[in-house]
């Protein structure tokens, strides 16, 4: 201690630093608060302006927006969301069904099977799947997947055609199942990432207790890891579902853009709200644009509900694990 401590109470900046920087402080605080509020306003504005622009078209609609199966806002001005909403839900659920087992497997692989050193790199590889732009998946789907799946689809149709899902007279590459396959690849990274996080959060003591009781690796995962991770996995699935429903360009290139409701996923039919917007926007009249905006509003509301549900599950989980810690 070479220099003794001196407290200089006469130094004005020590006593009231806020006087010198008062302007900066309140400006900064206000700016950051305003930015946060702006985000909320944008969310509200999205809802408001979609409604405003959709209303004229909805009024001009000669059909019933909820039940009409056709989409002819440009010509006969009769359009309905039913077939599109059905296609959106079915393709997204199908994609989820295909992606879930793989995603959980990959998440377990990275969190509990792969060597620690490799785990980070392997996780990054899976994240790269998310980095591929959706239009590239679409291109790949149309040029490669659509011709490639025709053989297997015909096989399914011939041998399992008694199941209505695989039934139908014609089998095509541009079908619901192909779109679902591409969607499954696209939502795999997000489901994996969220599941991996929760699997890594499992308290080590739970796993060690299971191992100490003589459980095998798999039994440890079944009795310690999976029950703990279940809410996280559910919300991961819902986030993936939201993604799949909003996915546009990839499915716009693959769907044959038909307007019927059918569960025959191998036949050349299928469409979704988002794909219809991408395909129909170019030739849309003002009423047509309004109709597309109305369908976008439906998509917005559905994905909003799914996402909010997912986030609420995560939030509740966080509180719970916080209390337990």
């Amino acid at each position: 201690m070479a220099t003794p401590l001196r407290i200089r109470t006469d130094e004005p900046s020590l006593r009231s630093p806020s006087r010198r920087h008062g302007g900066g402080e309140s400006l900064f605080r206000r700016a950051s608060t305003a930015a946060g509020v702006l985000l909320l306003l944008i969310m509200a504005a999205i809802a408001v302006f979609l409604v405003v622009e959709a209303l004229p078209a909805l009024r001009a609609n000669r059909g019933n927006f909820l039940t009409t199966l056709t989409w002819e806002p440009n010509g006969s001005q009769s359009f309905g969301i039913a077939a599109l909403a059905f296609g959106t839900l079915v393709s997204a659920l199908l994609a989820l069904l295909l992606a879930m087992p793989v995603a959980i497997g990959v998440a377990l692989f990275i969190s509990h099977y792969a060597p620690r050193r490799l785990a980070g790199v392997l996780g990054y590889v899976i994240d790269l799947l998310a980095a591929v732009p959706s239009v590239v998946y679409g291109l790949w789907g149309v040029v490669f997947l659509v011709p490639a799946v025709q053989g297997p689809f015909r096989f399914l149709n011939e041998h399992l055609g008694f199941i209505p899902l695989f039934g139908g007279d014609t089998v095509a590459g541009r079908s619901m199942l192909t779109a679902a396959l591409v969607l499954a690849v696209m939502i795999l990274p997000i489901i994996t990432a969220v599941s991996r996080e929760v699997f890594l959060q499992v308290p080590r003591t739970h796993e060690e207790a299971a191992l100490a009781l003589g459980a095998t690796h798999w039994e440890t995962i079944r009795i310690a890891v999976l029950p703990f991770g279940r809410p996280g996995v559910i919300s991961a699935a819902m986030l993936g579902l939201g993604r799949a429903m909003g996915e546009t360009i990839a499915v716009a290139l693959i769907f044959p853009a038909t307007f019927d409701i059918s569960l025959r996923i191998l036949t050349p039919q299928g469409n979704s709200i988002a794909a219809n917007i991408a395909n129909g926007f170019g030739e849309a009249t003002p009423i047509g644009r309004g109709a597309l905006i109305a369908s976008g509003l439906v998509l917005f509301v559905i994905t909003l509900l799914v996402n909010m549900g997912a986030r609420l599950i995560v939030a509740r989980r966080r509180e719970y694990s916080g209390a337990a810690a």
Binding site: G24, L39, F109, W218, G246, M308
Partner: protein
């Protein structure tokens, strides 16, 4: 052999079975990645030449050979730059509010929740919103800037989330040390908190840029199509690289599909480079930490 009874054959078999299923699932997940990258590189190289990078599609029909994506690459760079200029300041300030000022208040909880929800907005809805608000209600023209607005809506929540995580990692000791020296809060944030977390924030921002650079749907509804070079993002239709790929892919001729692949290759190169750079910055930071 120890005295402990060995695991029965049935249980051991099940364990092995699950283990191979788990390994298999990873292989299944990697197959599409490799398949997509391989096809893009193999098919993209056919037309990935000087002409492709320096020419537009003006006066070139779907059947014609030649033509390029210069107009689209230029458009994408401008749109992404503008979107970053809009969303990065807003995103950073929001994150600062959430971590430094709003802790625990109702407003901050609400913002935090809606930022999460906003990450799930379908990109096509962001495009529709800008179409409805900017082009239909305000009467603005289709332009690169309108596309940038749509992209910034998709970018903001990602920037907020990643920045928030990074700011939370800054130890409170640093902040308190700064306060103890009489430094006001805002200067503490600007001079201590932000520099400490800078590389992490940069990583997050670059990942956000990489994500929106590949978005097609919002551009489709806001910048429209053009085959010509438009350097000014504020007037008239512009092109974007993802849009270019979509446009060429929906034309059923071989030369158009070749152009689509070359465009996809250019797009993947841009996105992957951004991604790689972001990860390297992140890694460099964590190794600097350890030292």
């Amino acid at each position: 052999m120890t005295g402990i009874q060995r695991v029965s054959a049935g249980r051991r078999l099940k364990d092995r079975l699950i283990r191979s299923l788990v390994y298999l699932s990873f292989v299944v997940a990697v197959i599409p990645l490799i398949a997509v990258l391989w096809m893009v590189i193999r098919n993209g190289l056919a037309r990935f030449d000087v002409e492709f990078l320096t020419h537009s599609m003006r006066n070139i029909g779907a059947r014609d050979v030649g033509g390029g994506a210069y107009h689209a690459i230029l458009g994408t760079l401008e749109q992404v730059l503008l979107a970053s200029a809009i969303s990065i300041p807003i995103g950073l300030l929001t994150a600062i509010y959430l971590v430094e000022y709003g802790q625990g208040t109702r407003l901050s909880r609400m913002i935090s929740f809606f930022v999460d929800v906003m990450t799930g907005i379908p990109s096509v809805v962001a495009g529709l919103f800008v179409l409805a608000f900017w082009i239909l209600v305000l009467g603005m023209p289709f332009s690169g800037f309108a596309g940038a607005l749509a992209l910034s809506i998709l970018m903001m929540p990602t920037v907020v989330r990643s920045t928030e995580e990074m700011l939370k990692l800054v130890p409170n000791d640093l902040r308190e040390a700064s306060y103890a020296l009489g430094v006001p809060k805002w200067r503490t944030i600007v001079k201590v908190v932000l520099p400490t977390s800078l590389s992490g924030i940069v990583t997050g921002v670059m990942l956000a840029i990489a994500r929106v650079a590949g978005e097609t749907a919002p551009l489709l509804l806001t910048v429209f199509f053009t085959d010509s070079i438009n350097r000014n993002p504020f007037t008239g239709p512009q092109m974007g690289l993802p849009l270019y790929v979509f446009d060429q892919a929906s034309r059923p001729t071989d030369s158009a599909v070749d152009r689509a692949w070359a465009g996809a290759l250019a797009l993947i190169l841009i996105v992957m480079l951004l991604n790689l750079a972001a990860r390297l910055i992140g890694r460099w930071r964590s190794s600097a930490r350890k030292r």
